[in-house]
Amino acid sequence: MKPGDVMSILNKVKPQFWDTDTSTGPKSLFNYRRTWRLAIMLLAVVALVPLLIMTFIDYNVTRNSIESDSLLRTARTTSNTRRTIASFLNERDNALNFLVNYLGVKSLSNPKNLTSILDSMKNSFGGFVDIGLIDGQGQQVAYIGPYELLGRNYSEQEWFRKTLELGSYTSGVFLGFRGEPHLIIAQRVTDKKTGMNYVLRATLDTGQFNTILSSLDLPNEGEAFVVDRKGILQTPSKWHGKLLSEVDLPIPGYSEKTSVQQLTGKNNVDYTVGYAYIHDSPFIVLVIKKNRVLMKPWETIRIELFWMLAISIALILVVIVGVATYMVDKIYIADQIRARTLHQMEHTNRMASIGRLAAGVAHEINNPLAIINEKAGLINDLFYYKKEYAHDRRLQANINSIIASVERCGKITKRLLSFARHIDVREESIRFKNLAEEVIGFLQKEAEYRSIVIKMDIPEDLPKFVSDRGKLQQIFLNLVNNAFQAMNDGGKLSISAHKKTDKTLVFAVEDDGCGIPEADKKRIFDPFFSTKKKTGGTGLGLSITYGLIQELGGTMTVDSQVGKGTTFTITMPLNATPREANDNENTTG
């Protein structure tokens, strides 16, 4: 699309008030663009601000509820996992405790007994790998299991010392001699006969641990594992490090209860981490979910919310702009009509005042003029009838010249009187030729001075028509005056008339003056539109003329070419039913 096309489309949708000249008239009244902008701004603020606030609140509420929901779910999962693992450890601890209390050292140190104990524990509890009894010096005195550990000395091992000290011990996961991840649970046993301390130790494999953790139903890229208090992974992890290496997340401080934290891991990935310390063990359960995955439903809602908002805003703005444009256009049109009517009334009143003044002046002048006329006539008569000065041609010529001048004055005053009279009259039968001659009569002198040729083309058989003579006079006086202003000295003005149909007459006032530019043509009938502002034009002439023609039930069109001239064409009904004119005209009579 070319830029010219865009302009022409813009011109088509441009509201009428857009090009109003704000340099005329009371500024606040005529600045329609500002009114338009203000209306749009106010409406937009009033409509959009609550919408935006509501959306913002809804956004936050939804986000918070989704967030807290996911935290809660994480916390619950973590809590459940902790309970399962704690009870798993507890069960086995209690089993050892039971053996210690029930069987005592003697019975436990019997390998036969020990074998059947291990077998029943494997069967009923599961997870047990081996079992051994160690004496107070750390020497393994009885051992049943898949490895050759009988007689091994554990006195240097930490778990051994801790068990003697605390009575019960659960170790972290380690590979030990065997290269298999396992953990130890141990119970102190006191021989009731000798009072010597022993330690009953069992090894658990971590397989059941792993089964518990992997059975959790976690969302994508979420996982649960166990670490010890130093952050060493006790069970395998897919994403956060190798078994028995340090986890890549910071380990939160000790807490009695299950809690959930938002953490940022490496690569700036945000995680929701639920953690729970398992009592009487070195273990911490970690349930880890990626925030991005957790908030997936939120993403969907957010996008929906955004689209809803965008579409609402667009719709509201379109409606607001449309309504504002429509309203301001209506105001503009109403203002235009009001201004035109107001100025027409003013003009009519002024014309009536001028008429009364003219009539008064004409009357006052007519009386002395009549005396001069009679006196000069009498002198002339005396010359003529008495014969005394009959031979004095010069005297007689002077007298005749006085009488001729008086007659001229009389014509002027009569014209003035007739002009004034027609302002009062409402309706009468009009011969256009007379009317045109009367109008030209007022401007004859100016035309002569400026050598403007006035051509009248009015057929003799043009029918009379009924109309308001005073208004018609004003219409043609205005048009001819306009034409005079548009023309240079020596121009040509033509007034023509013809019958168009049985019911209409067409009059044309044509000049060969400067013409009207295309851009101004649309607006020349608007009140206050003037190209002669600097030279004192009010911009009301054509507006008033247009209004008068409308009042008489006629129409006016303009046809103009810059530099070649302008033609105003008026179409008048032969039998007008004029629109109701302003009432205050009645007071001018």
Partner: protein
């Protein structure tokens, strides 16, 4: 034929009467309505030329009173004014209505028309 000229402008009405006399028309004149009523008592005038606007007794009123005194009398109005009401009333109630200044020939022809 005898004519009565009534106008409050003495200079005008006297000159007019003299000019008519010069043309062989017998014309009397006066400058007020009251005097005119007195002069018309014998009903010797065929036609009266009245100014529309005069102090106290205006042309229309004077015409009515003169008609009462002398019903066959004809009237011509003169006026320096051109208002519609003036024109309409004047034309309706008299043979002719002329606007000042007038040509004496026009007046004579109107008089002849009226008395014919």
């Amino acid at each position: 034929m005898k004519i009565l000229l009534v106008d409050d402008e003495v200079e005008l009405v006297s000159a007019m009467a003299e000019r008519l006399s010069l043309r062989g028309i017998d014309a009397d004149w006066t400058d007020s309505g009251e005097k005119a009523l007195g002069m018309a008592r014998q009903c010797e005038y065929d036609i009266a030329v009245l100014d529309m606007k005069m102090p106290k007794l205006n042309g229309l009123e004077l015409r009515r009173q003169l008609s009462v005194i002398c019903p066959p009398m004809k009237f011509i109005f003169l006026s320096g004014h051109g208002s519609v009401s003036d024109f309409e009333a004047g034309s309706a109630e008299a043979e002719s209505y002329l606007i000042k200044p007038i040509r004496i020939e026009d007046l004579i022809s109107k008089i002849e028309e009226a008395t014919r």
